[in-house]
């Protein structure tokens, strides 16, 4: 199978126009030595067979429909309103590309302008962009904003930040003049007293996450005040779904707010494609990575949208660009935009509240069993660390029988612990069942 429209006659006519007898005549310059044989890829199979083949792979995976899942840790099972798939499967959106020609791309441009606006409002920042690859790279890009090429210094990261994010930040900054250093948490939250201490150089920025990797809510305001006192930038990693209920980090002093947009209507899909979002204070606008959409006027003075501030970008500035980002995650930004519009003011509050109330309900029920306890006694959003009295392997085995995944194992949380996430997708019945299994340990 292929997707080539030409009939034999088409090809004949085209070769004739080119005055050649076969396509091969178009390759005179390619050294014979490197002409390939076949790849050994069987196939040329039909659509029906492709479907059959891929169904088999899919059938070998558990899904959150076959396995009741309390897994979180950076990717979250949430309700995805049907209108998101409907709107985002419009080919006018998904088969277009970067809106280089604004007059032929007003649909995408306006939708991203609206996305940027909602991200700014949600995070309490002034400027956002058209998306980054994911939450982890967004955190790394934020770190890069804080780094001055000629100065060096330290980017400090709380140990309560998702360990994958920490690794990505480290990788991204390896060739910068700055070092990345870790500041240990205390009792599941960042220890303010340690900020700026024991560092090998001047603090240029401090990165923390709230709700953090353990689910605990950080004191963003005190952290940011302390960071600013040291003359550094406050960089917050946030869960956007929490921000209808929790204060916007930007309003609590964070200079840059980044995070993973996946909770905003994006399927789990085994880890991607997701959505890195970023919002910054006005002063940092010209340091932003990636595309930014702006509003302007046309020849007749009519409103319209364009990519703007392109002088920051690789296609104009090449090696002097703020980042190398070219393709981004625009379709995922569209999903998030539709999600935010659909949830709206009340929905964002309610879905946040459901996450808080469900997760705390389950935490209470678990503790009541006496067979497990919360590891950290701090306010949390929709995740918490449970410490079981029994071995984790045994815990998992018992839950397995009920087709439940009770959480994920995370080294950072210590032995016999699981990081357990509860969202609006869980009913009271689900949670009571969970506690019931725990009580049987």
């Amino acid at each position: 199978m292929d997707y080539i429209p030409h009939g034999r006659e088409d090809i004949r006519q085209m070769l004739e126009a080119l005055e050649i007898s076969s396509v091969d005549d178009l390759y005179p310059d390619i050294p014979g030595k490197i002409r390939a044989g076949g790849y050994g890829i069987a196939g040329g199979i039909s659509e029906q067979e492709v479907r059959g083949t891929l169904e088999k792979f899919a059938g070998m995976n558990a899904s959150v429909r076959t396995l009741k899942s309390y897994a979180g840790g950076g990717a979250y099972e949430h309700f995805i309103p049907a209108i998101i798939d409907d709107i985002c499967s419009k080919p006018e959106f998904y088969t277009a590309y970067t809106p280089y020609q604004p007059e032929a791309s007003q649909g995408i441009l306006q939708s991203i302008y609206e996305y940027q606006s909602m991200i700014c409002e949600l995070t309490g920042t002034d400027v956002s962009n058209a998306s980054l690859y994911d939450g982890a790279t967004a955190a790394a890009e934020a770190a890069l904003i804080s780094v001055n090429k000629y100065d060096g210094g330290v980017v400090a990261v709380s140990s309560a930040v998702n360990p994958m994010y920490r690794r990505v930040i480290e990788t991204y900054l390896r060739s910068s003049p700055c070092r990345v250093e870790i500041v240990e948490h205390t009792e599941g939250v960042t220890d303010i007293s340690r900020i700026g201490k024991h560092l090998s150089g001047k603090l240029v920025s401090f990165i923390f996450q709230s709700p953090n990797f353990f689910g605990c809510i950080e004191d963003v305001k005190s952290l940011s005040d302390c960071i600013h006192d040291k003359g550094a930038l406050s960089i917050a990693v946030a869960n956007p779904l929490s921000l209808g209920v929790l204060e916007a980090p930007g309003r609590n002093g964070a200079d840059i707010v980044v995070g993973e947009g996946q909770p905003l209507g994006i399927p789990l899909c085994f880890g991607g494609p997701y959505l890195g979002f970023i919002g910054v204070k006005k002063e940092l606008m010209r340091k932003l990575p990636g595309r930014i959409i702006g509003r302007t006027l046309d020849k007749d003075g009519k409103e319209g949208f364009v990519m703007t501030l392109q002088a920051r970008e690789q296609h104009i500035r090449r090696e002097k660009a703020t980042s190398n980002i070219c393709s981004n995650q625009a379709l995922m930004a569209l999903r998030a935009a539709v999600y935010m519009a659909y949830m709206g003011k009340e929905g964002m509050k309610k879905v946040g509240a459901l996450n808080i109330c469900n997760s705390h309900y389950l935490a209470e029920q678990i503790e009541k069993t006496g067979k497990a306890a919360l590891k950290f006694r701090k306010p949390f959003f929709n995740e918490f660390v449970v410490e079981f009295k029994k071995d984790t392997a045994e815990v998992l085995r018992l839950f397995e029988k009920e087709k439940i995944l009770p959480g994920i194992q995370v080294g950072e949380a210590g032995r016999n612990s699981l990081l357990c996430c509860v969202t609006e997708t869980k009913t009271k019945g689900d949670m009571d069942k969970y506690a019931d299994v725990v009580s049987k340990l």
């Binding site: 899942s69 950076g74 007059e103 409002e121 790279t137 204060e247």
Partner: protein, 487 residues
């Protein structure tokens, strides 16, 4: 086409679209659990009904060109047809609703698919190992350069420079800079290819790698590639392949065989995954054996009966994103390769070349094509000669918009003045190509007879030409919820 209005302007207090389960009877309030100081003080967000949201986006969609609606010969972007079957496959519950942290033994479908995909890409490129993590081409470049750095570092060889041709894509120098390198740009020769003398001069012991793409951004095959590879390797440097232009090489030749050490591919170009209005993409990176130890973690390895994620790779550069790649995109590319097989891939390459040459031939009768010889998947027109009439590449582009065709890439590559870079791809029928030729010929005539009409374009799109200078000078990049006004 009427002004759609911002979604915020459609917001009316008290309206709503969302639907959520009611809290259960015993449920408490957030305030019962969370200290007041952590709770949000004020919050403004849209308030709109579901139907009004649907209408808003239906309306926006109608203001967009797309592959499904329009011929889209955007050079360097490979805007080919995105098979619908792949969208359906990606929506299977067993792909879509799978958490990335499920225990490996519960996701062996994904694990083996990803492993197979690594092998397929190795076959197609002639590389030894592949990493599927990068989210886009530029992300792949960054990874590739990090690997190069790790390789030289491991050899105690602190090289500081990367050579790029002046025809290269902007992401190449920019990725190299992000990876901490100094960029040495070398001029192309009179044939539009890498100038071996320039290269020789630039190649010193400080050079970590030469980044190039083949065919290059003029659509020309770099026929001295083996010589180049020899020169680079002789100096202890590595050869990097920007695989955005792999489409014409499918079934024809492989970067691995040309001597490239590191390769990135754009699955969203060559392998037909949709571009999504800007993304998501996927930019896997392939390496020769000697670079393998540095690949990011986790890597997929067989352990017992199962494929597992292995994080235990002492020389690894670390992680470049959370989790393991834009799986949903990889899936579609996998289905595409599976459907095509050897034969389909070869034909894809061939016809992408045939289509481009047919256009080149026909348009060359009217337009100036600076390097007018057999091209690969794309070619570059220069309309420098129309400058006397006041017509620039941008005017041709806007005139095409009025004719329902998405313009080719303009003003890239930078080495051709007033460039128009045309990449038709293999999925366009001869009828479409002929229609494009007609329109281009008409536009050319118009440029001679009535240039004003082109300068005036577009007139059919609801908006006329937009003022980009104004946008950059007075940045208005978000709606202000407080003043309920545009910034």
């Amino acid at each position: 086409m009427k002004r759609t209005g911002l979604i915020f302007e459609k917001s009316v207090k008290g309206r709503k679209a969302f639907s959520l389960p009611a809290p259960f009877a015993e449920a408490k309030n957030p305030a019962d659990y969370i200290p007041a100081g952590f709770l949000r003080s004020s919050f403004e967000f849209p308030e709109i009904s579901e139907l009004d949201i649907v209408r808003h986006y239906t309306n926006l969609a109608s203001k967009n060109f797309s592959v499904d609606g329009n011929f889209y010969p955007l050079g360097s972007c490979t805007m080919k047809y995105n098979p619908k079957i792949n969208e359906q496959i990606c929506a299977y519950e067993g792909f879509r609703d799978v958490h990335p942290l499920f225990p490996c033994e519960k996701v062996q479908g994904y694990m083996s698919l990803l492993k197979k995909m690594e092998r397929l890409l190795c076959s197609i490129t002639g590389m030894d190992e592949f990493c599927l993590h990068p989210s886009a081409g530029a992300h792949g470049e960054l990874l590739g350069l990090m690997l190069i750095r790790a390789f030289h570092d491991k050899n105690g060889d602190g090289r500081k420079k990367i050579i790029v041709p002046d025809s290269s894509h902007g992401t190449n120098p920019s990725s190299a800079a992000m990876a901490g390198y100094r960029i040495i740009s070398i001029k192309s020769d009179a044939g539009g290819q890498i100038d071996l003398k320039e290269l020789k001069n630039a190649l010193d012991g400080e050079v970590a790698a030469l980044m190039m793409t083949n065919p290059n951004t003029l659509g020309l095959f770099e026929d001295k590639i083996l010589e180049i590879a020899g020169m680079v390797h002789e100096k202890g440097a590595l050869l990097y392949y920007d695989g955005a232009n792999l489409n014409p090489l499918l079934g024809l030749c492989r970067p691995g065989d040309m001597g490239f050490d590191v390769v990135h591919l754009n699955l969203h170009k060559t392998f037909a995954t949709p571009h999504g209005g800007g993304g998501p993409g996927s930019g896997p990176v392939g390496v020769k054996k000697r670079l393998e130890p540095f690949l990011p973690v986790p890597v997929i390895r067989k352990k017992g009966d199962n494929l597992k994620f292995d994080f235990d790779c002492p020389d690894s550069i670390g992680m470049i994103k959370a989790f393991w790649g834009n799986t949903g995109v990889i899936l579609k590319a996998f289905a595409y390769i599976t459907a095509l097989g050897d034969e389909g891939l070869k034909k894809t390459g061939e016809i992408s070349v045939l289509n481009a040459n047919y256009l080149r031939k026909k348009l060359g009768e009217h337009y100036n094509i600076p390097f007018n010889r057999a091209c690969m998947h794309e070619f570059v027109i220069s309309v420098k000669d129309l400058a006397s009439k006041g017509i620039h590449a941008i005017d041709i582009a806007k005139a095409l918009i009025d004719r329902g065709i998405h313009p080719p890439t303009v003003y890239f590559p930078m080495i051709v003045e007033e460039s128009i870079m045309v990449e038709p791809t293999e999925t366009e029928s001869k009828s479409t190509l002929d229609c494009f030729i007609d329109e281009m010929v008409q536009i050319h005539k118009e440029a001679g007879k009535n240039p004003g009409s082109l300068k005036n374009a577009p007139v059919n799109m609801g908006v006329r030409r937009l003022d980009e200078l104004r946008a950059a000078k007075f940045p208005d990049v978000k709606w202000d919820f407080k003043t309920q006004n545009l910034e």
